[in-house]
């Protein structure tokens, strides 16, 4: 322990000495300086005048956004394809097998490019947008939708509202809690609208302004990451299903459970014991793979922070260090969440 501490402090000290003898700036003060560059997609307020630290958060949130959506979609798709391989329908089972083999064996970066340029090329320019009721517009700059614009105070109300809805959802069984939550939610919704306005996208000389936009970069990245990872998850699900003893299936059959019920209540819950630990790896891979975002202009953490910011400040050691620490933290968080899920759900009935 002592040796490790001494070694680490020696390494850090030595590094900064070496950097200063070479005239390379060091330290973390760059995080406070003005960014000076723009970012196309941001979940939080960001402008050129914001700090570099804020740009870091924009990138991190974008990474988390794309990872979370893709993890959810990949899981759904992966289970669908994994289960389809056991389908009695020969064509469906074959299709699932072909899907898995194809997607797994094409490099992810190529798939990302494929989806990105496939999305871009299949969509019209802004002036020829697909128009839905004058409110929704689809073109090669993205999908534009009307957005709720919340004035001061509204943001808090909105987060309380979301929290209430989530509670109501989880407590569906306890009807009383659920009802009172929904009641309060309606009340809050009225308050939120009182503090908000609707912004509708309108066409200007080049593009639509106002509303919210789903960028083609985000869409392509999510499609590529989730379909690619789904192929691996499908294989894991298949292995999981195969690991369930025959006797379980026979018992379900003898009880006259339908194929669907048998899958849902008997096979999948037991397959999870094999699936969940392997799934963790796939989620970690997906999160790491999301850093390929930089290739198609999606402003994730690597693109914004380890890309643009690194180039502006040149402080490679600090920036790469922070970036590695962030990915490590995300990975640990995923692993911990999955372990918890494994303990409480997948291993149900197995520990005495």
């Amino acid at each position: 322990m002592v040796i490790v501490v001494v070694l680490v402090s020696w390494v850090i000290g030595n590094t900064f000495d070496n950097l200063s003898t070479r005239g390379i700036a060091s330290g973390f003060s760059f995080l406070q300086s003005t960014a000076g560059f723009g970012i196309s997609t941001s979940l939080i307020e960001f402008s050129e005048a914001s700090s570099i630290g804020r740009a870091f958060w924009v990138g991190l949130l974008n990474t988390l956004l794309v990872s979370a959506i893709s993890v959810a979609l990949a899981t759904i798709l992966g289970f669908a394809f994994g289960v389809a391989r056991f389908s009695g329908n020969w064509l469906l089972a074959r299709l699932a097998a072909v899907y898995v083999e194809t997607l797994r064996n094409i490099p992810l970066l190529l798939q990302i490019f494929f989806w990105y340029f496939a999305v871009l090329r299949s969509l019209p320019s802004p002036r020829q947008s697909f128009d839905l009721m004058g409110l929704f517009f689809l073109n090669n700059r993205g999908f534009y939708v009307p957005a709720l614009e919340i004035f001061d105070g509204g943001g808090w109300l909105l987060s309380v509202l979301i929290a209430l809805l989530i509670t109501a959802f989880w407590q569906r069984q306890q009807k009383l809690i659920s009802r009172s939550c929904s009641g309060m939610a309606v009340l809050l919704l009225v308050l939120v609208f009182a503090n908000a306005g609707i912004s509708v996208p309108v066409l200007r000389s080049f593009n639509f302004i106002g509303g919210a936009v789903l960028s083609p970069e985000l869409v392509a990245l999510v499609i590529a990451l989730s379909t690619y990872t789904a192929a691996f998850i499908a294989e894991i699900v298949r292995a999981g299903i195969q690991s369930v003893p025959r006797g379980q299936i026979e018992a379900a059959n003898a009880l006259s459970l339908s194929n669907k019920d048998r899958m849902r209540f008997v096979v999948i819950p037991q397959a999870l014991r094999v699936i969940v630990p392997l799934l963790t790896n796939q989620y970690l891979n997906l999160t790491k793979n999301s850093s390929l975002a930089a290739a198609i202009a999606f402003p994730d953490l690597v693109s914004v922070f380890a890309g643009t910011v690194l180039n502006i400040t040149g402080q490679a050691i600090e920036i790469i260090g922070i970036t590695m620490a962030v990915y490590l933290t995300i990975s640990l968080a995923i692993a911990m969440a999955m372990n918890a899920f494994n303990r409480t759900t997948a291993m149900r009935g197995l520990s005495p």
Binding site: P245, N253, L255, L257, L350, P352
Partner: protein, 244 residues
């Protein structure tokens, strides 16, 4: 006399090149208790598994309650609703509590409400003498208790027929009796059943008829008295001399 509730006619069953059943004919009447015995590998399990469609046959016909098991998935599902099965290895669902094991099929398959299913589960757990284990998981129970839960699970579907495939073979000796008692009680209540077992005591006590299988053929079919005291075939005699 009414039609037999299970009718097996000239059934042949192959596993690849191996013939497991070779021209089996068997009728089971309502309320009858049949014990199937025979050496290991003789096709006993295969025979009972054919009776609820867990195995399909290459030739011959099996009808249960006048429903032909060759009639596709709906026929098979219908048959399974009226036929309960108990396996050698219990095959309880380990991720579900005892109560959940019992309620699953009645709720999903028979359309019972949760409350009705729970009432029914309680009733049959009492019947197998372990009502206090409802909230435990199968692996927290002893083998004998697990097998009784498995019997209760089958009973929850309120079947007309019960099939047992060596229900006590996987149990430690001290637990065999508790399971046999439950089966004997069921028999006494008039349940129609087909039971594969090596427990000759059980056979003697409850069987209306004993069927002796060897190499996929029914070699002998007799009342317990005849079967044990004056077996006709040499193969039966050999088998009995080894087992008794």
């Amino acid at each position: 006399m009414s039609d037999p509730v299970i009718k097996v006619e000239q059934v042949h069953k192959w596993f690849g090149t191996h013939q497991a059943l070779d021209g089996v004919d068997l009728s089971v009447n309502t309320g009858e208790r049949i014990v199937v015995c025979g050496p290991s590998g003789s096709g006993k399990s295969t025979l009972v598994r054919c009776m609820n469609g867990l195995e399909t046959v290459e030739s011959g016909r099996i009808t249960v309650n006048q429903i032909d098991l060759a009639g596709g998935t709906t026929a098979v599902e219908q048959v399974r609703k009226s036929v309960g099965m108990v396996f050698q290895q219990f095959n309880l669902f380990p991720h579900l509590t005892v109560e959940e094991n019992l309620c699953l099929a009645p709720v999903r398959g028979l359309g019972l409400s949760e409350i009705e299913a729970k009432e029914r589960a309680e009733k049959y757990l009492k019947r197998v003498h372990i009502p206090e284990q409802a909230t435990k998981f199968p692996l927290q129970l002893s083998g004998g208790q697990q097998q009784r839960v498995a019997i209760a699970r089958a009973l929850c579907m309120e079947p007309k027929i019960m099939l047992f495939d060596e229900p006590t073979s996987a149990l430690d000796p001290e637990m065999i009796k508790e399971v046999l008692d439950v089966i004997a009680e069921l028999a006494a209540d008039g349940m129609t059943m087909v039971c594969v077992t090596h427990e000759m005591g059980l056979a003697r006590a409850m069987a209306d008829r004993i069927v002796f299988l060897d190499e996929g053929q029914i070699v002998e079919e007799a009342s317990p008295l005849e079967f044990f005291d004056s077996p006709k075939s040499d193969r039966t005699k050999q088998f009995l001399s080894r087992i008794l």
